[in-house]
């Protein structure tokens, strides 16, 4: 091959393009799924919320976009707490914790658990969750 560097550049750009396309698909799916989850909350069908939210968590998020999952969890938690559905909120956070995410993101989710426990008046568990998040931050 006379121009290997051109071939390499072409392959890299193509893979970037595919990756970009994949991310766009993932983002769009998540956007639609978010609307579904919010509609379920609005209609008071709280039992279906964890499963619907999990559809988002199971999407293949690149590591640099994981923060969106955390923002999503934060919003769902607030929406559910607003409707006094703390148990469902716990389930949502637990499902998010079950996905393939970095320890840093998991630490953030444990903080959410702490926040929920505090809302429930379980101060000891709240502090334990916060402690766990600090441990994960250190490990990460």
């Amino acid at each position: 091959m006379r121009y290997p560097h051109i071939a390499i550049c072409f392959i890299l750009s193509a893979s970037g393009l595919i990756q970009g396309q994949n991310w766009e698909t993932t983002r769009h799916l998540a956007e639609v799924q978010h609307e579904i989850v919010m509609l379920l909350i609005e209609k008071g069908e709280f039992g279906k919320v964890p499963q619907a939210a999990n559809e988002i968590f199971l999407l293949d998020f690149p590591q640099d976009q994981e923060r969106l999952i955390l923002v999503e969890v934060e919003m769902l938690v607030d929406a559910l707490v607003h409707h006094e559905q703390i148990t469902v909120a716990h389930q949502v956070v637990d499902l998010a914790l079950g996905c393939e995410i970095t320890d840093k993101s998991k630490a953030q989710l444990h903080r959410e658990k702490g926040y929920l426990f505090k809302k429930e008046g379980k101060a000891e568990e709240a502090l334990k969750s916060f402690e766990r998040s600090k441990e994960l931050e250190k490990e990460g």
């Binding site: 983002r27 769009h28 998540a30 956007e31 978010h34 609307e35 919010m38 609005e42 969106l68 923002v71 999503e72 934060e74 919003m75 607030d78 929406a79 707490v81 607003h82 903080r111 702490g114 926040y115 505090k118 709240a126 502090l127 916060f130 402690e131 600090k134």
Partner: protein, 169 residues
Amino acid sequence: MNCRSCSDALTALLDNELALDEQETVQSHLSGCPKCKKEYDSLRWAFGLTERVEPLQFNPSLWNRIHNEITAERSGPVAYIKTLFLPRWRPIVAAVGAVLIALFLFISFPNNSVDPALEEEFTQFLKEREMISRENRRILFEPRANRDIRGGNPFVRRVSYERANPFQE
């Protein structure tokens, strides 16, 4: 008859509990043995003393009462507790007691020592989280009054999550 069997039979002889032939055998030995005779005389003297003592007069129910108390003490919980304080059981009872007290203290007063720095940090996090929560609720649940969504129909109530969707660009 030897001295030992004679000595054993002396009390029975004094109580008239021996058969006639046994009495004769013992008497025959005593006549020939000064040592046994001396013991016999000593015993007879002691028996004579007790015979002179008048029997005590006591309430007939006394024995029953004593018997009942002894029986109750042997079988009741008090007797069981008393056995725990026997010298040979004391170290074991003390050790078990110490373990139980330690266990009680551990259960009653669990180690609640929390790192104040961690607690402070958590409080700070909660404050920040509450602020985020307020903002999220405002976005999620407050309808935008001026927004005309469905062809300008002002009566349609619709909540927009547009800004609240983190995946929207």
